[in-house]
């Protein structure tokens, strides 16, 4: 695994186009390369420690779900992966998180660039108070990914299509994103994240504010997106984790209790805490 990560970047470049003609079954893909590697991650909020020595390998083109009772540190860990915790003054992160063999907490790594590669979707849909078009175009524009209007139009359309929102939104691109329904807003946020063409997408309980139908749509979308992106999702719902993810990590009180294939975790957990949680004894 370490070999793979060390040679990660060139291999990825070679692999990406090759992956297209041979779309393999999701299960097989889940055993692919390691995209991100967290080692001995400790997180502190002021004096309080929120995460203890977390080690996780995140597989490329797989959906990894992070589950656990509230306050267990799963969201904290997720936010470490694109350094969103930098925004919090009192937050300190120790340990190493590597992406393609490069430590993302290395001072040389640019956080802006990192976040362009590791996108994020939040718990509550948070479209900007701008038009749908502007919402999508925002990322590409600030990063200078698009050079002209035509490119931009194209990218907006592709992103909306990928997020399954194009049909619903194509006639109202100039209307405010806040006017969409909750589920649409969340897909808009996903489209917004995709538009920057990240390699990894982090989702922080993306369905917790949505009704079941909208949730189903998002889950379908996650399935499709796995094709091209590595996805890490924090979820409260074990069913959802079971439905969408290939890998599952169970957190409890800041410790990573168990991490493995989703099937294994849900059918045959090694740790009794995991068992207790998934059988609903606490949580």
């Amino acid at each position: 695994m370490s070999d793979q990560t060390q040679t990660g970047v060139p291999e990825h470049a070679a692999n990406a186009p090759a992956a297209a003609p041979t779309p393999t079954a999701p299960k097989a893909r889940a055993d692919g390369r390691t995209k991100m590697k967290a080692r001995q991650v400790n997180v502190f909020y002021g004096d309080k420690q929120a995460l203890f020595d977390v080690d996780i390998d995140i597989m490329e083109h797989a959906v990894t779900s992070l589950i656990g009772p509230s306050g267990c540190g799963k969201s904290t860990f997720l936010r470490c992966l694109n350094r969103m915790n930098d925004v919090v003054d009192i937050c300190r992160v120790q340990g190493s998180i590597e992406m393609e063999g490069e430590d993302i907490y290395d001072p040389k790594v640019d956080v802006v660039h990192l976040r362009a590669r590791v996108g994020m979707v939040f718990q509550k849909p948070n479209p900007f108070p701008k038009s749908i078009y502007e919402n999508i175009a925002y990322g590409p524009k600030i990063h200078g990914i698009v050079r002209n209007k035509a490119e931009c139009d194209e990218l907006v359309e592709t992103s909306l299509r990928k997020a399954g929102l194009w049909e619903e939104a194509k006639d109202r691109l100039d209307q405010p994103g806040t006017g969409l329904s909750g589920g649409q807003q969340q897909r808009l946020c996903i489209a917004r994240a995709i538009a920057v063409q990240p390699e990894v997408i982090l989702m922080d309980e993306p369905c917790s504010a949505l009704d079941p139908i909208a949730t189903a749509k998002i889950e379908d979308l996650i399935h499709e997106l796995r094709e091209n992106y590595t996805i890490v999702i924090v979820t409260h719902s074990m069913q959802q984790a079971a439905r969408v993810s290939q890998k599952t990590a169970f957190f409890h009180l800041g410790d990573l209790i168990e991490y493995g294939e989703t099937e294994t975790i849900f059918t045959n957990p090694k740790d009794e805490k995991t068992q207790g949680y998934i059988t609903g004894r606490f949580g």
Partner: protein, 459 residues
């Protein structure tokens, strides 16, 4: 006498409280009945019945005593006053009042006036004494009434609470009364002004020189009452002030809300609050004695003609005054933008400034506009800085180096100093005041509505 009366009234009220309470207790003990409320409520019931009529009488009486006594005096000396117009009569009354209080009069008082003055002070003393006596009598009457009604079945608590509630409600209507008072007095005085000067001339005239119209029999007494130059001067100074305050205040707010850590914020906020707490007269002093001469010398040294009462000096200092106002309002508004908005942007890899410029500020825009509007309204209504540092003559100019005058400066100059109250000159001040009130009111209403809408959006 006043002190003795105050003590007497307080004693009476205290007595009422004691009497009410003891009567309730006695009734309970005597008949073995259960009191509806706590004994203290019966005391309060009696005390309120005593205090409220007395207080009401005091308020009404003292509000009208002066006017009524003056009318009586004037009725006495009608022959003295025959042939005098309204403003002269006012002056005579002034003399009488001054004479009565031992002050200086404008001319040697005639015997009739002196007599009137003696009568005036007599009447005032009598009226005061009468007021006190009647107030105490009313209070005792109320007490008696309450005393007779007290029985164990009396729902004293509910009665007392109803009275308290009424008092609370009445006090909340004071805000309305104040607005009403402002509107009425301004409209009333202004309409007297517009009876003499056509309103169109006031609103659209390009000449403002009220100084001519000091005396009615003077040649050219009409004066010139075109408010445009005055208003233009106000706008010029406000504009300069906003040029200083808007960018500095806004960027300070952005820095405080988005960049400064808690420690820096903890220091900076109180410091800016100090800037906000400095009285305007201090800014006026600073503008008139330091900034204006400095600007003039600076102008001299580079060959610019800067008036020593330039609009620039007054405007710049006013801007400094408004900085904390803009910054604290904008700070609130920016902080109210939900952090999910920021996170969404950071999550896409935006830098802080990109997030602020492209997400936070557009989201906060309505609130910021509201804040700026409030600041403009503040600048327009600001008085002391311009009174001390701006000019008196109404120049219609857009040159910030020249002296201009403002609405508030004119109001102050027209109304300070001794002059009769009914000349167009003094009434013009009320017309200007009305104009000022209306303009700031419109700005405030719009601004408050915008800010409120904005708040609701994110609540």
């Amino acid at each position: 006498m006043t002190l003795a009366f105050a003590v007497a009234l307080i004693v009476l009220i205290g007595f009422a409280y004691y009497l009410g309470q003891s009567r309730a207790l006695k009734a309970r003990d005597g008949r073995g009945a259960r009191l509806h409320s706590l004994p203290s409520y019966y005391g309060m019931y009696a005390a309120l019945w005593c205090a409220i009529p007395a207080a009401a009488l005091l308020a009404v009486w003292s509000a009208f005593q002066g006017t009524i006594v003056e009318q009586m005096i004037l009725a006495d000396i009608t022959e003295e006053l025959s042939g005098l117009d309204q403003s002269r009569i006012g002056l005579v009354m002034n003399d009488i009042r001054n004479l009565a209080t031992g002050g200086i009069t404008s001319s040697d008082p005639s015997p009739a006036i002196q007599e009137a003055a003696a009568r005036y002070s007599n009447l005032m003393v009598t009226a005061k004494a009468a007021m006190f006596v009647i107030a105490l009598a009313l209070g005792s009457g109320g007490l008696l009434l309450a005393f007779r009604r007290i029985s164990p079945d009396l729902r004293a608590r509910n009665r007392v609470e109803r009275i308290i509630m009424t008092v609370l409600m009445l006090s909340s209507t004071i805000a309305i009364l104040v607005t009403l008072g402002i509107v009425l007095s301004l409209v009333f005085e202004a309409s007297r002004f517009f009876a003499q000067i056509p309103i169109t001339e006031f609103l659209f005239g390009l000449q403002w020189s009220p100084q001519i119209a000091i005396r009615a029999d003077q040649v050219g007494s009409s004066g010139a009452f075109g408010a445009i130059p005055v208003f233009a001067g106000t706008m010029l100074i406000s504009f300069i002030a906003m040029c200083v305050a808007a960018p500095i205040g806004l960027f300070s707010a952005i820095y405080m809300a988005e960049y400064a850590n808690r420690k820096v914020r903890g220091v900076l906020k109180p410091v800016l609050e100090i800037l906000a707490g400095i009285p305007t007269v201090v800014y006026g002093f600073f503008a008139a004695l330091t900034v204006a001469p400095t600007l003039r010398d600076l102008g001299d040294s580079i060959g610019l003609d800067v008036a020593s009462e330039s609009a620039l000096a007054a405007g710049a200092v006013m801007g400094i005054m408004i900085i904390p106002f803009v910054s604290s309002l904008s700070d609130d508004v920016i902080s109210a933008v939900p952090s999910a908005m920021r996170e969404g942007s950071y999550g896409l890899g935006a830098t802080k400034s990109e997030t602020i410029r492209k997400v936070v500020l557009p989201a906060a825009l309505p609130g910021i506009v509201g804040a700026l509007l409030l600041a403009v309204s503040r600048a327009i209504g600001e008085t002391m800085i311009v009174v001390m540092a701006a000019g008196l003559s109404a120049n219609l100019t857009a040159n910030p180096f020249e002296a201009v005058t403002t609405v508030t400066v004119q109001i102050v100059t027209l109304l300070t100093g001794d002059q009769e109250f009914d000349s167009p000159k003094t009434l013009a001040a009320f017309a200007l005041g009305l104009l000022l009130f209306v303009v700031t009111l419109i700005l405030n209403v719009i601004a408050l509505r915008v800010v409120r809408k904005y708040r609701e959006q994110y609540d």
